[in-house]
């Protein structure tokens, strides 16, 4: 009788072994390639980015129609805006003398500058819309109910921060659109009873939109508000996990 001999490893098996079972790969990714349930869970649990997720989650929540990925996409926009924003910072100086010229340079002489600027702009609009829609999905799925009350509050803060991020960025091109939009916008803020004029002065660093306003908006836009937003997002995501994942019917 023929004795069963184990099949010889095929070429692809060898390749697979070479790629994923070698010393270097294992030093970067502690787990093997995620093709077994064990490795799939390990990769989520041991990777700093993936471990925002649980290793397993309820079936209803992987349905696209449950979240439409809106929260995740809001976060993705935030990341994309960070990347394109950093690239734009290489070429942009927030001074009244240079800002507008730098914008023109970004559009005409910088490689892919126009593309970077367009991406940054459209992503910013997309983020405002996505965050609002995410809020609507959370509302209509009743996902703010206990124990997620406070995460809803954090969400409202994130909504305001998203508006503020977008608003502070609007001034930076220093063109007519930017200048007058911020003039109108800060006039709205200045109308507040009692504290309005003071807070407008504080925001603009003067009575009118000028050099001080530009540097303030720039600083808030590239570091102050993103930092705040990142902190609140971290709390937002942490709490989703602490509250037992996404809401589902009792």
């Amino acid at each position: 009788m023929a004795v069963e001999t184990p099949a010889k490893p095929s070429l692809s098996d060898k390749l697979y072994d070479k790629m994923f079972h070698n010393y270097v790969w294992k030093s970067i990714f502690r787990t093997g390639y995620p093709n077994t349930p064990r490795n799939q869970m390990l990769i989520v649990a041991t990777n700093v980015f993936l471990h925002l997720h649980p290793t397993r989650l309820h079936r209803t929540h992987v349905k696209v129609t449950h979240t439409y990925c809106l929260g995740g996409l809001s976060f993705f926009m935030f990341l994309g805006l960070t990347v394109t924003g950093i690239l734009l910072m290489f070429y942009y100086v927030p001074s009244v003398e240079r800002a507008y010229l730098d914008m023109q340079n970004i559009e005409t002489t910088v490689q892919f500058g126009q593309l970077m600027r367009n991406m940054h702009r459209w992503m910013a609009h997309a983020m405002v819309i996505l965050v609002f829609m995410h809020m609507m999905r959370v509302f209509y799925t009743g996902a703010y109910k206990p124990p997620r009350e406070f995460n809803w509050v954090i969400g409202v803060i994130l909504l305001v921060l998203t508006f503020l991020l977008s608003f502070t960025g609007y001034l930076l091109p220093w063109d007519q659109l930017a200048f007058w939009a911020i003039t109108v916008g800060t006039n709205i803020a200045g109308a507040a009873p009692v504290l309005g004029p003071k807070s407008r002065f504080w925001l603009l660093g003067g009575f009118e939109v000028g050099p001080n306003a530009l540097i303030r908006f720039y600083t808030l836009h590239v570091i102050g508000l993103p930092l705040l937003a990142a902190i609140f997002m971290a709390v937002h995501f942490w709490r989703i996990r602490r509250d037992g994942g996404l809401a589902r019917p009792l």
Partner: protein
């Protein structure tokens, strides 16, 4: 017992149903990857097709007409046309954010949690709330811009003449009614209170009425009446129902205010059709 209700373990996470769970890798990570790719590609495409706007260099001496805030603030700029600036620009949005933030503390029931429109009637209530928000806001805008009176007169030949002129828009309640002189300056404080440059001593009652009284009344009364009516009609039972109507009404009103502010406001913030909308640069030195 009241204390027991307070000490209820509200923050306890739901128990997991392990047999109902799937693996995040690949089931969720795959979807996230696709969503991210679709958006990346769509945004690249958009960026190739459409350039971000860049107008002339900023010039404080040349005022574009109309001057507009960024689009997501145009809802507030639209409100501003109809009432006191502090009310429209700061007080209303702040109060609304607080109300919205307080939703979960008002509606604490777990009923309908975690599924789309999980409570009875909630689709119906959302549609009613949304429609009332949309139609109501349009109606108020048309009225206050004087278009309603204009349509009634021009299209149907109805005219109130001078007797009903005060109903043309909100402002005409102040300007077209024979308010007695004293009502325009009611002293309500024996001395002048000055808080950071603003003084509070005299009240211009008609002015207060059209800029603050009526708008506040409308914004409080309309949603309250709607919720009350739906409750009497037997459609609202729970707090969740009331919140659904309120939120849907907000979304409707917010949508209309944003769209009108963006696409229907022309020179001098005149209400026009979107295709009549054009921006003219101001003349230097002239604001």
């Amino acid at each position: 017992m009241a204390t027991a209700a307070v000490a209820r373990p509200a923050a306890k996470p739901q128990p997991r149903a392990r047999d109902e769970e799937v693996l995040v890798w690949p089931d969720l990570v795959f979807i996230e990857f696709i969503a991210a790719m679709v958006f990346t590609l769509a945004l690249f495409l958009l960026s190739f097709l459409m350039n971000a706007p860049l107008l002339d260099q900023a010039n404080a001496d040349v005022t574009p007409n109309p001057s507009k805030a960024p689009w997501y603030l145009l809802n507030l700029q639209e409100l501003l046309l109809h009432m006191n600036a502090a009310l429209a620009g700061v007080i209303v949005p702040s109060i609304w954010l607080v109300i919205m933030g307080a939703f979960p503390y008002f509606d604490r029931d777990n009923d309908g949690q975690g599924i789309w429109f999980g409570t009875e009637n909630s689709i119906k209530l959302s549609i009613i709330g949304g429609l009332v928000g949309i139609v109501g806001t349009w109606f108020l805008i048309l009225w206050d811009s004087g278009k309603l009176a204009f349509f009634l007169n021009d299209w149907f030949g109805f005219s109130g003449g001078d007797t009903f002129r005060f109903l043309e828009n909100v402002r005409s309640i102040q300007t077209q009614l024979p308010w007695p002189e004293w009502s325009r300056e009611i002293t309500y404080s024996p001395w002048n209170i000055v808080i950071i440059g603003e003084d509070f001593q005299n009240l211009d009652f008609p002015g207060w009425l059209v800029e603050q009284g009526i708008p506040t009344g409308v914004m409080v009364a309309f949603p309250s009446l709607l919720i009350f009516a739906l409750w009497r009609a037997g459609m609202i039972f729970t707090r969740r129902d009331a919140v659904v109507v309120l939120f849907s009404g907000f979304v409707g009103a917010y949508l209309v205010l944003t769209v009108v502010g963006t696409a229907f406001r022309g020179q001098g913030q005149e209400l026009v059709f979107p295709w009549q909308l054009k921006v003219s640069e101001g003349i230097p030195g002239q604001h």
